[in-house]
Amino acid sequence: MISDARRAAEQAARQSYGKLIAFLTARFRDVSAAEDALSDAIAAALNTWPERGIPDNPEAWLLVSAKRNLLRRIRHENVRTAARDRIMMAFEEAEERMNADNPIFPDERLKLLFVCTHPALDQSAHTPLMLQTVLAVDAGTIAKAFLVSPQAMSQRLVRAKIKIRDAHIPFIVPDRSVLPDRLKSVLSAIYAAYGIGWDGVDGETGKQGSLADEAIWLGRTLLAILPQESEAAGLLSLMLYSESRRGARRDANGQYVPLDQQDTALWNAEMIVEADDLLRQAGAFGSLGPFQCQAAIQSVHADRRRSGVTDWSALAKLYDALVIMKPTAGARVSHAAVTGRIQGAAAGLALLNRIAERDIVNYQPYWAVRAHLLTEAGETARASSAYLTAIGLSDSEAVRQFLQARLDAITPPGC
C-alpha cells in the first residue's frame, strides 16, 4: 500500500508538472520540447518529494530544477536550438511571474485540455495525450491501459504532438459559441480514462492497469478550473459513485458480484457523500446533461445503502432521459435491463431488438442482458445461446464464471 503522504507528494508533483507543461506549451506550442525540458525535473520530484515532503512552492521547485537541467544540457551538448532558447525565455517569464507580488503560478491547464481534445487530432489520441501531458502518466502505463503496444502508443502520441505544433492548434479556451461542444470532448476523454477496461452492465472496471485514480483526478482538476460547469460536476460525481463500489464488486473468493447483490456496507461512504454533494451542486445550475443524468442514476443505486431498496421506477425515468440525450449502446442496453425489470422481460427484449446489429455484435453487456431477459421470458434455448456469446465476449475470468453459473442454472442436467 502506498501511504497517503506518498500519494499526496506524487499528486502534487504531477499537478505542478501539468501546470508547467501548460504554461510552456501555451507559449511555443511544442509539447515534445516542453516535456523534454521537464522530464528530468519531474523524475526528480517523483523520487524526492515522497521522501522529503512537498516543497512550499512546488511549481517553483520544478521550474528551478528544469532550468538547471536545461542549462547543463546546453553547456554539455554545446548546442543551442531555437526550441531551447524559447523554453529558456519562457522559464524566465515564469520565474518573473512567480517572484512578483503574486507568487501563484498561472494555471493554464484548461487550454492544454482543450488542445489535447481538439477535433483536428485523431480521437484515439485525446485521452492518452491528456494523461501524458496534464498528469505525466508514462507512456508505458497508458499503452497497457489502452491495450496497445508501447511502440504503437508512443507513435500515436508523437503524431499528435507534431500535428499540434505544425498545424498551429491554438492554445486558447474556446469561444462561448463553441465551448459546450468542445467541453464535451474534454469530458468524454476524461471519462474514457475512467472507463478503460469497463466491462459488464453495472460498470465493473477492469483490472488491467486501471487509470481510475488518474481520471478522477483529471475530473477534479477540470472542476477546479470550471466550477460553474454542471457537467464537469456531474462527471466527477459519476466517477466517484462508481469508484465507491470498487471494494464490493468481488466477494471473498474473487467471484463477481452484480450491483444489485453487492453488500452496501462495503461501499465507500465518504465517496458517496462527496458524489451526492457534487450532484446537488450540478443540479443547482438548472440544466440536465448526460453526465449529470448518469450520476443521478448512480445516486439511485447508492441510495440502497440508506433505504435498503432500489427505486426502479426512478431509474427507469432517468434512463428514459439518458437515451434521448445520449443514445449510446451502453445507455440503451441498461435502459432495456431496467425496463425489463419493471415492465417484464418482453418489454426489455423489445428495446434490445431495436438496437442496430453493428452496435451490439461484439458488445458483451448486450448479450448478458439479453440472456437474462430471455431466461425470464422462458426462452431457454435462445437464452443459452446468448449466455454463450456473453461468456465468449468477456475478458474477465470472474465474469465468465458468473455467467457460466447462470447458464448452468437453466441447462437441464445431462445436457
Binding site: L147, V148, Q208, N362, S385, T389, G392, R400, Q401, Q404
Partner: protein, 112 residues
C-alpha cells in the same frame, strides 16, 4: 487483415481440457468469434505428449516421439481471424479464456 491468435498452454491446462470450468470458456469464445463473423480458421490441438517430431538430418529423416522439450508453454491451438487492424485483433486476444499460465500470441498472416 488476417491474424493468427496462437495459444500456448501449460501442462496443467492440457490436463484440464475436459474440465467444464475450463472447456466452457473455449466453447463460448469460439461461438462469439463465429457470431461476429470474423473466424476464418483454426484448430485446437491434443496434448503435446501425442506429438511426433520429424527432423531432417542430412539426407535422412529422424522421427522422434514427443514435442520439443523447451519451455513451460506448449502450442495448444490457434484461431485465424479476419479483423480490420491490430487493435481489433488485440481486443479479441484479451477475450481468449486462457489461465494465468498461458499466453496468446497475435501474428499477422503472411500475405501470399
Amino acid at each position: 487483415m488476417q491474424y493468427a491468435l496462437i495459444i500456448r498452454e501449460s501442462a496443467e491446462d492440457f490436463k484440464r481440457r475436459e474440465d467444464p470450468a475450463y472447456k466452457n470458456g473455449w466453447v463460448a469464445y469460439t461461438q462469439a468469434l463465429i457470431q461476429a463473423g470474423i473466424m476464418t480458421g483454426g484448430a485446437g490441438l491434443t496434448a503435446p505428449e501425442t506429438a511426433t517430431v520429424v527432423r531432417r538430418r542430412g539426407e535422412d529423416h529422424d522421427v522422434q516421439d514427443g514435442p520439443f522439450p523447451e519451455g513451460k508453454e506448449q502450442l495448444g491451438g490457434f484461431y485465424l481471424i479476419d479483423v480490420p487492424d491490430l487493435d481489433a485483433a488485440l481486443e479479441w486476444a484479451v477475450r481468449v479464456p486462457i489461465s494465468e499460465h498461458a499466453s496468446v500470441e497475435v501474428r499477422p498472416r503472411l500475405q501470399m
